[in-house]
């Protein structure tokens, strides 16, 4: 992405969305304490300081996922990305961060770039990430060591690549759901939502 960008192409849009996921997932992992905070380092992106993991394995895993995701975004075959936080001991799902992706499939045929400035898109992304950070005010404390998992919902006819496996939706029963902000590149629209266990069902 360069500053000379006049409009948004499909490829560029996929790039932006994938980048958002990379930073968004990192933010969630940091905010929710899934990995120890000392394994994160601060970077400045989207004009805000963000925490990005320095754990080599995690980094590789995330780049793998994100690059695969980028492919699917380009093909407009991805519908959802879900980050599931489960208790390590009991495998119980405690939190579910869901990002619904709406692809404008007409962009695949016509290659004409869309009119939307990168600045406004980044503005929208910023407000999503801010909300992720602010959500600690109502989310329950994760008292036990937790693991996370990423689920990607794609169109049915897609061949599952190596290193990926099919899984269930991993839905929390009796959950409280909070819709967060959304952003759109005018080709991909991302709606975010977090679901967590209801307070009295604990």
């Amino acid at each position: 992405m360069t500053s000379t960008l006049k409009g948004i192409t499909l490829k560029g849009s996929a790039e932006i969305v994938a980048e958002f996921f990379s930073f968004g997932i990192n933010s969630i992992l940091y905010q929710r304490g899934i990995y120890p905070p000392e394994t994160f380092s601060r970077v400045t992106h989207y004009d805000m300081s963000l925490q990005v993991t320095t754990d080599v394995k995690l980094k590789n895993y995330l780049t793998n996922v994100v690059s695969q995701l980028k492919e699917w975004l380009c093909e407009c075959t991805v519908q959802k990305l879900v980050l599931v936080i489960t208790c390590l001991e009991t495998n119980e799902v405690l939190e579910r961060w869901q990002f619904d992706i709406e692809c404008d499939k007409s962009a695949k045929e016509s290659s004409a770039p869309r009119e939307k400035s990168l600045k406004t898109i980044q503005e929208e992304i910023r407000s999503v990430i801010r909300q992720i950070t602010a959500s600690v005010t109502f989310l329950p404390l994760l008292e036990t060591p937790c693991a996370f998992d990423l689920l990607v919902y794609t169109d049915k006819d897609l061949v599952v690549p190596d290193k990926w496996e099919e899984s269930g939706p991993q839905i929390i029963n009796q959950s409280e759901e909070v819709r967060l902000r959304s952003f759109t590149t005018s080709i991909h629209k991302v709606n975010s939502m977090v679901a967590y266990k209801r307070a009295d069902s604990v």
């Binding site: 602010a134 005010t137 008292e143 409280e176 909070v178």
Partner: protein
């Protein structure tokens, strides 16, 4: 986009106290919007309902009402604070059931005690008191909370001992206790590992030790002020202070009456040091350590006064080294709308709590009082239903109680009548 409601919690995020169990988003939104409108009537009504339920309850689980009342309070007052009366409620519920043994290991009751302890200035005292009273002795959550408190204070050894105590008492649920114990061990060992790694990388002691008789770097041009922290970088390079002193001693060996003993030098290096001379004169009694060193005065400036006799202001603080983030938006920065109703948030407190009167002390006194009254001494005894009037956080008057009873009776009557009406209606058919 359905974001109209979502903005509410985000604007108030600093004023929402996180709860261990999380919050109901709907309750949160409602509470925040009510606060914004300054509309307390619904909240007051609900509170009144809870208060009268506390008094009117005659089932066999009075804790249930308290439990619901406290949970409601937590969810309804996101920023906590005085008007929530949460700490009062917790204290009341804790004292209310200290005599009832059946609640001592009720998870709800223990939970309230733990929350109460967290609102106190000295939680450890409360936990010790709980242990002495046998409250929560078989509840894992009690030991976990106690241990976490120790850990927060940096005493991981004691934190571990608390878990041992919990295992000895067969606290339930055992798996939870074990899980948290393991987590504590993992944290402690990780800490130790990290410390070891740091030690390996640079051979410095963990805690910089304060060295005696060294020159300190001073701050301030007009007045030499040594920093509060007198270790590490604050020490002027050793060659400057100590050795020059040493050489001066050597050089003026004939003049010097006494040799300053330097405890920082390794005793094995003794031979190179000047031999101790016998005391020519008794050492002066004054401790010279904190006296200001003689220094050049010619360049020192007095604090200057300007024409009007006022001291000149200190120079403005130097610019921060980091770049403050400024949003690129074109419009001038708008104020974030204030979401807290100023009428609710009075800054002044009505009464400062007396320092001697800690919540724990109050509980202990009450307990003692109750014990003393047992042997049948002529004690003060109120001949009215005092505990009913002063049960929750508000005070009821007799009329209110009577009205409540009356309403209850009327409700029962109408119910009975309704049933009989139905019965008669079926008869007619």
């Amino acid at each position: 986009m359905a974001e109209g409601g979502d903005v509410e919690w985000e604007l108030c995020k600093e004023n929402i106290q996180p709860l261990r169990r999380g919050r109901h988003i709907s309750a949160l939104q409602e509470a925040l919007s009510q606060q914004q409108e300054g509309d307390n009537s619904a909240i007051n009504q609900q509170r009144q309902a809870f208060e009268s339920e506390l008094r009117m309850y005659d089932g066999d689980d009075p804790l249930d009402v308290w439990d619901r009342y406290i949970k409601w309070t937590e969810q309804t007052f996101p920023q906590g604070g005085k008007e929530s009366h949460l700490s009062t409620l917790l204290e009341r519920v804790a004292t209310r059931f200290t005599e009832e043994k059946k609640y001592h290991n009720d998870p709800r009751y223990v939970e309230h005690w733990i929350k109460f302890a967290m609102t106190c200035p000295e939680p450890l005292d409360i936990y010790r008191y709980m242990q002495a009273q046998g409250i929560g002795a078989t509840q894992a959550s009690f030991y976990i909370a106690w241990s976490e408190e120790y850990e927060n204070q940096g005493n991981s050894c004691k934190a571990d001992l608390v878990y041992q105590e919990g295992f000895k008492k067969h606290a339930e649920p055992n798996e939870k206790l074990q899980q948290f114990h393991k987590a504590l061990q993992a944290r402690v060992s990780r800490q130790v590992m990290m410390n070891v790694e740091e030690d390996d990388s640079d051979d410095e002691p963990k805690q910089p030790e304060r060295i005696s008789l060294v020159d300190l770097k001073h701050r301030g041009k007009k007045k030499a002020i040594v920093p509060v922290n007198r270790t590490g970088s604050a020490i002027r390079s050793v060659s400057g202070g100590l050795q020059s002193q040493g050489t001066s001693v050597l050089g003026n060996a004939s003049n010097s009456r006494l040799v300053i003993f330097d405890e920082n030098k390794i005793p094995s290096a003794g031979p190179s040091e000047p031999k101790l001379e016998s005391w020519g004169a008794p050492p002066t009694a004054r401790a010279k350590e904190n006296e200001q060193r003689p220094e050049k005065w010619c360049d020192v400036k007095m604090r200057q006064k300007n024409k009007y006799g006022q001291t000149i202001m200190a120079p403005p603080p130097s610019k921060p080294t980091f770049q403050p983030f400024v949003e690129e938006s074109d419009q001038p920065p708008t104020m974030t709308p204030c979401k807290i109703n100023p009428a609710v948030n009075t800054v002044l407190s009505a009464r400062k709590p007396c320092r001697e009167e800690t919540p724990l002390k109050r509980i202990q006194e009450l307990h003692q009082h109750q014990n003393e009254s047992e042997p049948g001494k002529p004690q003060e005894e109120s001949m009215y239903c005092k505990e009913l009037l002063l049960s929750g956080v508000t005070e009821f008057c007799f009329e209110e109680l009577r009205a409540e009873r009356y309403h209850q009776k009327m409700a029962q009557k109408t119910e009975v009548r309704g049933q009989s009406d139905q019965a008669s209606a079926t008869d007619v058919k």
